[in-house]
Amino acid sequence: MSPVLEVSGLKTHFFTHAGVVKAVDGVDFAVNKGEVMGLVGESGSGKSITGFSILGLIDPPGRIVEGEIRFNGENIANASEETLKSIRGNRISMIFQDPMMTLNPVLRIDSQMMEAILAHEAVPKRQAWERCRDALGLVGIPSPEERLQAYPHQLSGGMRQRVSIAIAFLNKPDLIIADEPTTALDVTIQAQIIHEAQKLTSQTGTAMIWITHDLAVVAGLADRISVMYAGRIVEQGLTDDVIDHPLHPYTVGLLGSVPTANKRGERLFQIEGMTPNMLSLPEGCAFSPRCGFASEACQVPPAVEHVANRELRCYHPQSQVAAE
């Protein structure tokens, strides 16, 4: 099966006064049709920038300096604004983090939904309106006709994120990039939103990249997980493999710091040190200063290796260490 999206060697750098920030520095991954990929990492690891790079929404001083973004076989990295515009919201759509900020406060829901259709298709307004109404019904919004006439401030946070999801699915895209769509919501709403997204992707066969810092969220949602650290994907594999047998010390640390019931009373595990300053990354493996297994070898950046069904950037895979 040919992948919907194939990103290879993607580098997005920001040229600031203080220096070059290599927010995304050589990222490779592929997403197949109908597949959900979890892109996991701390704030500042470059996961959102990866998402925006795919849509060509990187504003100066940042730009894509290298790499290919193959969407349905065609390279759209640094494609013309016209090409990108016809793809955005149509073939690839995006769900943003904070539903309070993403919907325009002075426009009604109907005009914000209908414009997403009318920008890509010449259909009668009535027809566009009906599609919007049906889309709202699909994401579980009661009495969609009334909601269409509402302004964003009249809806709750969870309701607004449902609207964003409805907008994302409006044009039946091939791929949806969801950038921390549940982070701003409370836990019960989170679960509903994830359920809604899961249902729709499996119904429509839409592929999805779910960007999050929360491993627990993607554990139940994603087919595959990519763990990002300081602009690079350090570990990538099937969800069950990554969760059950993490290989990269960073992934091990992330999983170890998730609070669970059987650790009650114990001190929560914590990864040593702080997220690196993106302006002065260490030579070699960016995680090595925080890593308990770092050695001389880590002074040279590790290349991508295929280990146990996994793509890995590490000289000291953990399960193997344990096995030895």
Binding site: R88, M94, P105
Partner: protein, 325 residues
């Protein structure tokens, strides 16, 4: 909505009453109008008669109560100089000032907003930098000096436009206006431009700041992620958000346009309320000064009310609800 309007009207009534006290007693402190009115060789008996005729022999609080009694019946006193009702004099001069102020407001909106939009969208463009430099000049150069320079350049040197006065007027919809004749428009252009310079600069800066802020907002990025055309993003998503502060400020500034017209009208000999006020002040024509100020207060209160209502139409978040308050 109704409750809101009624509450605002009651506040307005209180403000007007308070202003009437301040204005009436304030004006009485400056100078004695009698000596401006009687001939220099008048004897004591003539002066006494004049004082009695103007009602100035009564104690000030009695004068004020008489003024209030008249005001309640729509009579703000007679002009000392012209012997005519002050209100009638002002209303007679009002259309000229209003058309000047509206023309200036029109100029500041049609020039200021597009220029501000351009410089907000392309902040690094040399043209934008020129616009911003121009707006600093517009803010800092004194109105009277710019007025004189405009006359020098366009009326004296180039001879394109007349320097002073109001041109031919014509009546449309029962209002006498110079905007209906070509000669009138030629006459109003320079004073309107002079009066609007400050407001153009204000509109430029407000719009520019608004555009720059809005362009960085998530909702703009989200609209781009939906594949919306740049034109729709700017003119619908961004403009609708920006118009809220712009309309508020420009609306409130309309009152100050009428106020500032005192200077412009004096320079361009525009026969409006401002010129009437200056003449009245020079001649210590108290009733006219008081009546002018009262009308200005009413104007400001009214403008504030209109702006509030407009605001609630533009911004759904402040749509006024009858919250029983």
């Amino acid at each position: 909505m109704t409750v809101f309007v009624i509450r605002r009207l009651m506040q307005a009534f209180f403000v007007v009453f308070l202003m009437s006290v301040i204005v009436f007693f304030g004006v009485n402190i400056v100078g004695d109008p009698v000596y401006m009115l009687v001939s220099p060789d008048a004897d004591q008996a003539d002066i006494e008669a004049a004082i009695r005729r103007l009602g100035l022999d009564r104690p000030i609080w009695e004068q004020y109560l008489l003024f209030l009694k008249g005001a309640a019946q729509g009579n703000l006193g007679d002009s000392f100089v012209f012997g005519e009702p002050a209100l009638k004099l002002i209303l007679h001069h009002m259309p000229a000032t209003l058309e000047l102020a509206f023309s200036a407001l029109f100029l500041s909106v049609v020039l200021g907003i597009p220029l501000g939009l351009f410089s907000g969208l392309y902040p690094d463009n040399p043209v934008s930098k020129g616009i911003m430099a121009g707006s600093i000049l517009g803010f800092s150069l004194p109105t009277f000096w710019v007025g004189l320079m405009l006359i020098l350049l366009f009326a004296v040197e180039l001879g394109w436009l007349p320097s002073t006065g109001r041109g031919d007027t014509a009546t449309i919809f029962g209002i006498e206006t110079s905007l209906a004749t070509w000669d009138g428009i030629r006459h109003i252009f320079l004073p309107a431009l002079n009066l609007s310079l400050l407001k153009i600069s204000l509109a430029i800066r407000l719009t520019r700041a608004g555009v720059r802020e809005a362009m960085g907002q998530d909702y703009v990025k989200y609209a781009r992620a939906k594949g919306i055309s740049t034109r729709r993003i700017i003119f619908v998503h961004v403009m609708k958000n920006i118009m809220i502060p712009v309309i508020t400020v420009m609306g409130l500034e309309f009152g100050s346009l009428i106020g500032f017209s005192v200077v412009t009208e004096t320079i361009f000999a525009w026969p409006g309320m401002g010129k009437l006020l200056i003449d009245a002040i020079l001649q210590l024509d108290r009733p006219v000064v008081v009546a002018y100020l009262m009308i200005m207060v009413l104007f400001f209160v009214l403008i504030n009310l209109i702006v509030d209502i407009l605001y609630s139409i533009l911004d759904p978040r402040v749509r006024i609800q009858d919250q029983g308050a």
